[in-house]
Amino acid sequence: MTTKTLNASAAGLGFLPAVFAIVLGLGVVTLTGHVQAAALHDAAHDVRHATGFPCH
């Protein structure tokens, strides 16, 4: 029983950490690069221009 679950975990859930990191990473980039809230936009303004994001 235990062995079976371990196998399922290795095969089926092995990609979960990678998916989690990709979602987290894209979330961070969306926040710093795209969200138009005024405070975020002003703080990230120079970075958005320098990094090639559409800014305003």
Binding site: A10, V28, A43, A44, H49, A50
Partner: protein
């Protein structure tokens, strides 16, 4: 009875936990290091061009008037609040990039690819193409003050272009057959053939010389930063893996 209990707690097996730690640790180290250097490069090479453009954006300087305007005005110097925020946000942005890159590296290693600082350099260049060069090929890095279409429309196009270019990079690296190369070429070209949202008219008050220098500097610093992203991501992925093995 005990094995049944073990079954339930296997959702996060030690191997899975170790994988979370390895991905997050490598990505944070690589993102912070590459982001800090990128921020300093931007402050030295991009920020003066941006500040120069803002003098025209605000109307403080006007070109094509009656008299020629000096190309070397006095620029505002280092602004502690503004530039510190830029450093923090650059480090955050590049940490976002390294989280995605290290995750993809872990998948590629699972398929047998060698991941280290040397191969990481190629990953970094591919990342630059996907996240910076591809969208910038049609939506050129914008100096403050340029005329541009609605920001929401441009963000949709930017995101779609990054997604298609990223998929193309993966297909070129791991597709392994002629069809995948053809699909990659189509994915790379499609957003630019379709075209990005464009402004209805040109109203930018910034001299073309400044706009061109800004785009060149943004791409140059971007390439340097992404080369570091890939190299650091590959390096930390490898060393964190060795450390985990040694302590296991």
């Amino acid at each position: 009875m005990t094995p049944r209990m073990t079954c339930v707690t296997q959702l996060a097996s030690p191997a899975t936990k170790q994988m979370y730690t390895r991905i997050l640790t490598s990505a944070l180290f690589a993102g912070a290091a590459a982001g800090l250097i990128a921020a300093l490069l931007q402050l030295v090479f991009v920020q003066p061009v941006l500040l120069h453009a803002e003098l025209y954006e605000s109307g403080e300087l006007v070109h094509f008037g009656g008299t020629p305007v000096s190309a070397h005005p006095e620029l505002p110097g280092f602004d502690l609040m503004r530039d510190s925020l830029s450093i923090v946000f650059t480090m955050l942005t590049y940490t976002g990039y390294t989280l995605v890159m290290v995750a993809l590296m872990s998948m590629a290693e699972g398929r047998g690819a060698a991941i280290n600082a040397r191969t990481g350099l190629i990953w970094g260049i591919a990342g630059f193409i996907a996240f910076h060069l591809a969208p910038g090929f049609t939506l050129a890095p914008e100096v403050p003050g340029v005329a541009a279409a609605d920001v929401g429309d441009r963000q949709v196009w930017w995101t779609a272009t990054v997604a298609t270019a990223g998929a193309a990079m993966w297909l070129i690296a791991y597709g392994g057959n002629k069809i995948s190369y053809l699909i990659a070429v189509a994915l790379l070209m499609a957003p630019h053939l379709i075209g990005a949202p464009e402004p209805d008219s040109f109203s930018g008050p910034v001299p073309t010389e400044i706009g061109a220098l800004f785009a060149a500097r943004a791409f140059g610093v971007g390439l340097a930063a992404w080369a570091l992203v890939g190299t650091f991501a590959g390096y930390f992925w490898q060393t964190e893996g060795e450390r985990a093995e040694a302590s296991a």
